[in-house]
Amino acid sequence: MALLEIRDLRVGVEDREVIRGLDLNVNAGEVHAIMGPNGSGKSTLSHVIAGKPGYEITGGQILFRGENLLRMEPNERAAKGVFLAFQYPIEIPGVTTMNFLRAALNAQRKARDQQEFSTPEFLKRVRDVADSLNIPQDMLKRGVNVGFSGGEKKRNEILQMALFEPSLCILDEIDSGLDIDALRIVASGINALRSPKRAMIVITHYRRLLDHIEPEIVHVMSKGRVMKSGGKELALELEACGYAQFEDAA
């Protein structure tokens, strides 16, 4: 059984169909890249998988380990192992990163009938992950993403991913706003999480990220559909020729 199975998905936003019959199968252990022009529906797809309200699902289904994902609350999805690193991580003033991480991790563990981490155990985990991502400790004491630079916000998303150990990681333009060094750090953080039990969907506009995180499969998305899927050479082809050929087909 595929970890994630999307069949003929159709999604409307404010009376416009933005996802128009999309199919996608992702198996555990695989890394998929999704590329596609601005407005083709990549973020919409990731939001719908994570359960963001405001989208109308007009057709199709999403199965996660064979279960109907669309019927679950966003927090149930998180507890079952779905994680979305947002294209635009938001700021939460007044909630320190540390308190946020603890509340989120414990909520997920509770939903899975696992024991909450003790405080020292939790702190050690956070510290280890933060160190590996070059995130200074004092950043964790600030409000979630408050006053963080664009790159710091992205690193904070990966910090959460590493801490929550999800089985499906969706990374929506994790490379945007990262300088070259930060890209390397983030990519190695992501690579460290690759495992036969875990799948990743990497949404990006740039081949460079895929040089760091080599995908098994590359999909080209345009106008709300997967127009073509192939190996990583597809990313090179896109870089050379652009999206025009796929848009015509749509």
């Binding site: 963001k52 309200p53 991580p89």
Partner: protein
């Protein structure tokens, strides 16, 4: 303010309450005259009503309906109930001074734990025994606010607290106002004098005893803060949900002093907290903050007037309201900068979080700047919880309810975090979180 309105029935009723209560008002010598004058001042305008600019959102004349008879002195049974409630709101390590139904109850208070640096007497004792005209005038001082005049006329008891020059009081002093009665009114008044360079923290709590209901509390605190002195005043009102609470603070601050004010209202059918702070000297720092937490049909009005009279003073105000159901919050913040108050630096922000469609919040920041070379600013917003924030938290595993609670805590926390003492911050946070849990 000059508007003449016909007297409402409620006010005729209050005349008779005053007449009936006169015999119970403490005060020797000139005190009865001072009280009679205060009552006359009150009578000129009567109960505050919407025709008065400062009371336009809280029309007591329309809202209170009737003025209730003065609460009787608490009997032994009432004191037993009061003791339970007073203990429930004890702040960590604070020295408790308990007023029950407007009467100081030494048997419930920690007089023995008072530090030598502070002198505490009951208002009754001061007015009956040793008040010179000057002291009586200070203790019973009024403004042109008729609720305060009424309080001066009617106050049955309270605490007179003095800290001499240079003395630092380490433990917070907590005045606990407990109401035990049904449909009665109480009038309390306290006076605080901090000498030059003195330090103190005063906490005031308002709570009902079990069975108390429908009471009206009118409290006032008059404070004089000396040069280089530092005062924290933290107030938490958690009255019965059918009670009325009108509290006034009149605070005059000297030069190079520090004043931290915080007021939270988390229950009471109709609540009004009004603070009048005059920064009279130069170089003083004021931090004035507060939170209204409101649900059901309750309403809470917090009105703060900061009067910059001296130069080089800083004032920071951060006010937050969380309003659910059909609740209504009012925040009025006026900053006056007098011509002499050069280099004033004053800012005020007020934000309201509306948790239901019927919830209402009125924010009225106001600047009156009469000096040059000042930095002043204010901001006011109100709105619902941000859905994108709620979703972010849900996507990380929190249930919708827990996500909302976390964001609400963060919201009122923005104001509570301004309390400098960690212990008192925790004390206030615990009560705010208790309010939050109770409604979920």
């Amino acid at each position: 303010m000059k508007q003449v309105l016909p007297k409402a029935d409620t006010e005729r009723a209050i005349d008779s309450v005053f007449a009936a209560a006169r015999g119970r008002m403490p005060g020797a010598g000139l005190v009865p005259q001072i009280r009679a004058r205060a009552f006359e001042v009150y009578e000129r305008t009567g109960l505050p009503h919407r025709g008065m600019e400062d009371w336009k959102y809280t029309d007591l004349r329309a809202l209170i309906g009737e003025v209730l008879p003065l609460a009787p002195r608490p009997n032994a049974e009432a004191l037993v109930r009061a003791k339970v409630s007073a203990e429930q709101v004890s702040a960590d390590q604070a020295v408790k001074l308990v007023l029950v139904d407007g009467v100081f109850a030494p048997e419930l208070s920690d007089l023995g734990r008072l530090e030598n640096e502070v002198v505490v007497r009951s208002l009754r004792e001061v007015l009956e025994n040793s008040a010179t005209e000057a002291i009586a005038g200070l203790v019973l001082s009024t403004t042109n606010d008729s609720a305060i005049s009424l309080n001066a006329a009617m106050a049955t008891d309270g605490l007179v607290i003095t800290v001499a020059d240079g003395n630092a009081v380490k433990r917070p002093i907590q005045i606990v106002h407990v109401a035990t009665g049904l449909s009665v009114s109480t009038f309390t008044r306290s006076y605080l004098q901090l000498g030059k360079g003195a330090h103190a923290a005063i906490v005031e709590s308002f709570v009902p005893a079990e069975g108390a209901s429908g009471y009206q509390a009118n409290d006032a605190i008059i404070a004089l803060v000396g040069d280089e002195a530092s005062l924290s005043h933290i107030r938490v009102a958690a009255d019965a949900s059918d009670a009325v609470n009108i509290s006034s603070a009149i605070i005059a601050v000297g030069a190079r002093a520090k004043l931290d004010l915080f007021s939270m209202t988390c229950s009471g059918s109709i609540s009004r907290y009004q603070g009048f702070i005059t920064l009279a000297g130069e170089g003083t720092k004021l931090s004035a903050n507060g939170v209204n937490l409101i649900r059901d049909k309750l309403r809470a009005d917090t009105t703060i007037v900061v009067d910059h009279a001296g130069p080089h003073c800083t004032s920071r105000e951060k006010f937050r309201a969380v309003v659910d159901d059909c609740g209504r919050s009012v925040f009025q913040g006026r900053i006056v900068v007098r011509p002499a108050a050069r280099k004033t630096d004053a800012t005020l922000t007020t934000r309201a979080l509306l948790l239901s469609d019927q919830a209402e919040a009125d924010n009225k920041p106001e600047l009156k700047i009469l000096a040059d070379d000042v930095t002043c600013g204010h901001g006011a917003t109100s709105g619902a919880l941000d859905d994108t924030l709620v979703f972010y938290l849900r996507a990380r595993g929190l249930s919708e309810k827990d996500a909302q609670m976390l964001l609400i805590k963060a919201f009122f926390g923005e104001s509570i975090e301004e309390i400098t003492s960690e212990k008192l911050r925790d004390f206030v946070t615990a009560q705010a979180e208790h309010w939050l849990q109770a409604g979920r």
